[in-house]
Amino acid sequence: MSSAEELRAQIDALVRRYYAARFGERSFEPDRDLVHYAGRVFDSRELSLLVDASLDFYLTANRYSEQFETEFAAYLGADEALLVNSGSSANLVSMTALTSSRLGSRRLRPGDEVVTVAAGFPTTVAPIVQNQLVPVFVDVNLGDYTAIPERVRDAVGPKTRAVMMAHTLGVPFDLDVVGELAREHDLWVVEDNCDALGSRFRGRLTGTFGHLSTSSFYPAHHITMGEGGCVVTSDRELARIARSVRDWGRDCYCAGGENNTCGTRFSQQFGTLPRGFDHKYVYSHLGYNLKATDMQAAIGCAQLPKLEGFVAARRRNFARLTEILQPYADRLLLPSAPAHSEPSWFGFAITVRASAGFSRDDLVRYLESRRIETRALFAGNLLRHPAFDGIPHRVVGDLSNSDVITTSTFFLGVFPGIETRHLDHIADAFAAFMKGDRPTLRVTRPA
């Protein structure tokens, strides 16, 4: 009879063989296979750790979560990292944390304004609205798709208490301006770093400038654990609040399966509860359950050491796409990095110029017909979506560029799974399209 350790070793050996058999060879036939815009990039290590975590059968956060949080915080040079189940959850936790009564007069209250952008992903903005705060929308630049710095300055009014924006598609927003405004007006800053893990501004990693920052580990992102995200901060009080918001709103900070870590489980006084009420069930926030599992964290532990390689591959692919598409720059606005920034590119954004002679939809349909995946720049102008209809908000200036993005912008992938053969296929497709190979696409409607 083998011991548990021996069986575990045998399973691991089999998992590695399984990886080689199932995922080892990856062919690409341009006439048959998709050029994905994003996806999981992994080897046998991810499978090994995932199975290892599942054999622990602890299920909830445990050793791999602790390891991932420690290593992720170290990567960013932050004191605290809190694993959550998605980047959107990280945004929700972060914004909700800023409404905590533990922050005293610095807490955000209903009606306080938060500066953000209209062109982006909905769950950057939704937590502002969900916390009864008022988003103040500013327009973005075309080309780098980040907030227009002058508009951000103009947006700050007497009710403004925070800035929450994304480094869209990996491009850092102007952290000089936001930092200066934050100091001048005592604003909270939340960096939605979900698209930008590994990006730098003035040589410093994004996600380290704000009071809080968020990351996503969805498969389309720089590293993945399937579903997953992280809240990062170097403010211990914010970390404690965020942990509470993540973990049902409870005051207790015991990890799952632990008891009386604080040593005062039955001797504290909270609110009007009887003295000594079990601290495990004392709630200091209206929270959620947004925790991740140890299996997710295990995958993250295998992914994180690969991050720098992934970032380099994304930059290489971005550079190659720039070379491929430069000849069409009269018709396509190609992406660019603003001053002082070194993006860890999430995608390659293209805006079809008004004078191009074809539309974004013409080009996207053609590329999709050639099995080249494309994506809109997320929601475009969020205010045009039903979910945001009627929300309390303010707009500074106009959102004309956000509207251009809604109709004329899309992006291609740059993820490490895109190799030379895929890029060559993309080059061929663009060349053919620009030469006039634009078959009329039949749109079939249901009867």
């Binding site: 602890y58 445990n62 602790e66 420690t70 605290e80 211990r236 870590t261 040593g263 039955f266 001797s267």
Partner: protein, 241 residues
């Protein structure tokens, strides 16, 4: 951010009357922590893929920044500390998880540290890091059963030498008139005396009071301070069950 770490027992110092100082060496670098925070120590083996074993909280006596070195003090009081006395041995392995707790001295107010017995370990990291030119006054009043059980007197002496606005008062229940610490500081006879501290501060009602020690001492000193008219918010206790 909390971490769980295996530690080797580097040394155990017995001070008499079942009071000990234990030095540990963690297998990996320690997470950063603040002076006044505590750790949990487990004597039973811990399998990181399973549940955390029975453990007890101890103030971290050493300051953050020592890479892998940890120090704690304990006095044998109950089941867990009795096990520690029996089972801890130099070279042995224990597990710790850390850091925890809010017993952290912050703010610009004058500070009074009231320590009873091994409760001094909640303040030692703070003293180690006290800047020479701190703008606030810091007064430590430290009592123990016997003069020999006054720990960290060398650290306290060094702090008094380098920190301009730091003062220390020592008390021992069994002290005789004229008794001094090993570093030559006078020891008052009897229990820790809040009145003596009160007289050392220009504005005692505006100071923040931090109390660490056995439960009876915490209760008695807190009550005394409240009776002197101090607001509850000015009194911080390092209380565990």
């Amino acid at each position: 951010m909390t971490r769980k770490l295996a530690c080797r027992v580097d040394s155990i110092a017995a001070h008499g009357e079942r009071v000990y100082t234990v030095r540990l060496r963690a297998e990996r670098p320690l997470p950063s922590f603040r002076a006044g925070q505590f750790l949990h120590l487990a004597l039973d083996p811990y399998d990181p893929s399973g549940f955390w074993p029975d453990s007890r909280a101890f103030s971290i006596a050493s300051a953050s920044g020592h890479d892998t070195a940890l120090e704690l003090c304990y006095s044998v009081k109950g089941r867990f500390t009795s096990r520690m006395e029996r089972e801890l041995a130099v070279g042995g392995t224990v597990w710790v998880k850390l850091p925890y707790g809010d017993f952290v001295i912050e703010g610009q107010d004058d500070v009074v540290l009231l320590a009873g017995g091994t409760g001094i370990s909640a303040f030692t990291a703070y003293l180690e890091q006290l800047p020479p030119h701190a703008s606030s006054s810091v007064v430590l009043a430290y009592g123990a059963r016997a003069a020999s059980l006054l720990l960290y007197t060398d650290l306290i002496r060094r702090t008094a030498l380098h920190a301009r606005r730091f003062q220390a008062l020592f008390f021992a229940e069994s002290a005789e008139p004229g008794d001094r610490t090993s570093d030559g500081a006078p020891i008052e006879s009897g229990r820790l005396n809040v009145n003596a501290v009160w007289q050392r501060l220009p504005r005692p009602r505006e100071a923040a009071y931090y109390i660490s020690g056995p439960p009876a001492m915490l209760e008695a000193v807190s009550a005394e301070l409240r009776a002197m008219g101090l607001a509850a918010e000015a009194i911080h206790t390092d209380a565990w069950e």
